[in-house]
Assembly symmetry: none
Homo-oligomer: 405 residues x 2
Amino acid sequence: MGRSVELAESLALPRGGRILLAVLDGLGDVSVPELGGRTPMEAADIPNLDALVRDSAIGQHVPVAQGITPGSGPAHMALFGYDPVDNLIGRGVLEVLGIGFPLEMGDLAARINFCTLDGDGVITDRRAGRISTGECEVLAEMLDAITIPGVQVIVRPVKEHRACVVFRGDGLRDGLSDTDPGEVGYRPLPVGSPSPDCARTAEVVGEFVRQAQEMLKDQVRANGILLRGIALNRAFRSFGERFRLDPAAVALYPMYRGLASLLGMTLLESSPGDLSGQVAAVHRALSLGHDFVFLHHKYTDSAGEDGDWKRKISALEDFDCALPGFLRGGFDVVAVTGDHSTPCPMKQHSWHPVPLLLHGGHQRVGWNDGFSERQAASGALGTINSLDLMPLLLASAGRLEKFGA
Amino acid sequence: MGRSVELAESLALPRGGRILLAVLDGLGDVSVPELGGRTPMEAADIPNLDALVRDSAIGQHVPVAQGITPGSGPAHMALFGYDPVDNLIGRGVLEVLGIGFPLEMGDLAARINFCTLDGDGVITDRRAGRISTGECEVLAEMLDAITIPGVQVIVRPVKEHRACVVFRGDGLRDGLSDTDPGEVGYRPLPVGSPSPDCARTAEVVGEFVRQAQEMLKDQVRANGILLRGIALNRAFRSFGERFRLDPAAVALYPMYRGLASLLGMTLLESSPGDLSGQVAAVHRALSLGHDFVFLHHKYTDSAGEDGDWKRKISALEDFDCALPGFLRGGFDVVAVTGDHSTPCPMKQHSWHPVPLLLHGGHQRVGWNDGFSERQAASGALGTINSLDLMPLLLASAGRLEKFGA
C-alpha cells in the first residue's frame, strides 16, 4: 500500500503548477429509489462540473480499501497522501479538533460521555438522559476546575451529553483503553494501561475520573462519566515538507481545519454562509503564494447523513455555481472529489468508490460528459486508491521527477 | 507488490506455448489538440492491429505506480516481471549499456560530463561549452590511458560533452554519490562514500578524478569532469530461469539490448532500417527454439519525445504493416504494448497507463474493435500493474500450474 505516494514523496520537486483539491465531503452516493434509481449527482443540475468533465480525466477512488467505510479522519488522511492505517488519528483527538480547540503536540485527548449511575455505581443510562447542551456546559466548567499535579486538565463541552478532556503535560503516553463498557448494567471500566510505560498516564486519567465522579455525585442524571477514544495528539510529518508544497486550507468546519492544521497547512479564514467567502479565500491563498489549496465543502455530507437527497442535490448545485469562481483563481491542476461516499439511503458514511475529476496538466480528455458515479467508473483515470491521488496531482502539475533512468 | 509475478515464478512450467512480447516504446499518449483531441493511436490507420484487437483481450497497465513516470529501465524491468523499485538499474550502468559496451557483473559504471573550471576550480560550465563529439572522443581516449593499481579503467565517449567510465576489478561497491553539484558556482564534490564498506571504491574513483583533472588541466573548455550515477552492474536473476523460458531479444537500440542481456536473454542481430529485418530475426528466434521473444520498437517513443505526433502515427503504422509478418512466425500468445506512455504534447515519458493487447490462449474477445487508449481502458483485461503482464502471458500460453488444490 502506498507505493505511489512513497515514490512521489521521494521524487517531488519544489516547483511546478498550482493545485486546487476541492473535497465535497461524502460526495458519492448510491441509487436513490425516490430519484428513479439515480444518484443525487445524476439528478443534480451541475452544468459547470459537466463542462469541466469534458475537458478533464475522471475516475473514482477507493478510500482505505474495498468494502471499508472510513471515518472523516482516515478518509482525509488518505486524500492527503498519508496511509490511513499507519496514520490513524485517535477519536479523542478528532473530537477535540472538531470543537476548534488548539491542541498541542503531546496532548492526550478523550471524549467524555456524561452518564447515569445507580447506587451501586452501575450504568443505567450511557447518555445521562441526553442532558441539554446548556447543562453540559455547566458540568464541563465544573470538571475544568480539576487539578492534578504536573498535568494541566482542560474540559470543554461539546453537545448534549458529550464533552471532551485534554491532559497537557510531559510524558503522556498513548494506548489507554476506554472506560465505557459500551452497555448499561456494568460499572465503568478502570482506565486500562496496556504496558508499564503507560502506568503514569493511566494514573493521571484515573485520578481525573475519580475527582469527576466525586464532583458529580449529587447530580440527578449526569452523575458519572465515561471516557472513550483516549488518544495522544501525535506529530504527523508536514504535508508541505513531504511534497515540497506550500499548502493552505479553506474549510469552515473545525474538524477539517484541525486536520489540515495537524499536517502543517496554513488555515485561511473565510466567512460562512454562501460559497463566495470561500471563493475569495481560495483567491487569497494564491495571492499569498500558496501552490496547493485544500478546499472543504461540508454540506454534501451533512445532507447524506440526514438522508436528505434534495439537500444533497442543492449542496452539489451550490458548489457548481461557485465552481467558475474557484477556477478563475488560475490553478494549473484542479481536482474535484469527495473524501468518501455518504449515501442518502444509508444516512452514514460508506465504502463505495468516490468520483474524481482531474483537470489540467496533460490528460486523456473528452471521454465523458457528466460528473456522476456511473461516468466516473468508466473514466480515463479508472479506479484508484485514495492514496494515489496526491501522486496524480503532483504528476499533473509537473512536480515529480522521473523514476530511474 | 508483485504477488502475481512471485506466484507465477513458483508455478511456471518448462513447457507450453510460444510468446511474443512486442514493446512499442512510449506507446500511450494523451489528447492531442491538433488531432481534435484524439491520440496518435486513435488517429493512426492501423487495420492489422484493429483486426487483432477483435480477436484479443485488451486493457491497460500502470508502470511502477499511479502518477509515477518511469525511466526506460524501470519500465522494462516491470514488463519483464522484475519489481522496478527493488531492481533499479543505476544510471551509469544504463548509460554504458546504451553505447553497447559489454559490461560485466561487478563493473562499476558512471557517466562523465566534461565541464569547465575556473582558476579556483569552480565550475563555470557543466557542459564544457557542449564540445563536439569528435573532441569528446579525443578526450575519452586520453582518460582511457589512466591506470589505477588493481583496477581496470575504461573510458568511452558518448556524445558531445558526455562520456562514461567503467571500473573493473574485485570488490567494487555500490552507493557512491555524484561529484556533480548540479549547479555552476561550486567546486566538484568529493566522491562521497556512504559507509566504510565503500571506502576503497571511493578511493579508486577519487584517484581517477584526480588523474583526469591533471590530464585535462590545459584544455580550454573541457578542463574538468563531473561524475554522475556511479553504479555497480549488479547481477539480476535470469529471466529464463525464473519463468522457465528460453528467451531471445530483437532490439536495435543498444540500451534495450543491454537490458535484455542483463536478464540473460539471447540477443539476435537484425538489420536496421525497415521492420523486415526484425520480422526475419523474430522468425529466426523461433527456428532456434526460443519460446519467448522480446521485440522492441523504438520509434514511437522517439517521436513522442520530439512532440511529433505525425511521426508517432507513422511509427505506429509502420509497426502495423509489419504485424502480419511477426504473426506468421506461429506464436501461441502475442502481446502488443508499450513500456510507458510518451505523450507528444509532453515531449517526455509520463505516468499514464499504457494500452495492452493480449492475443491467443483463451481470452474474452470481441469486446473491442480498435487499439487505442480509450478502448484499452474499457477492455476485458481492465487496468493492471505492469508486473502482472508476465503472469498473464505465461497463463495464456498454458505455462503456469494451478495454485493449490
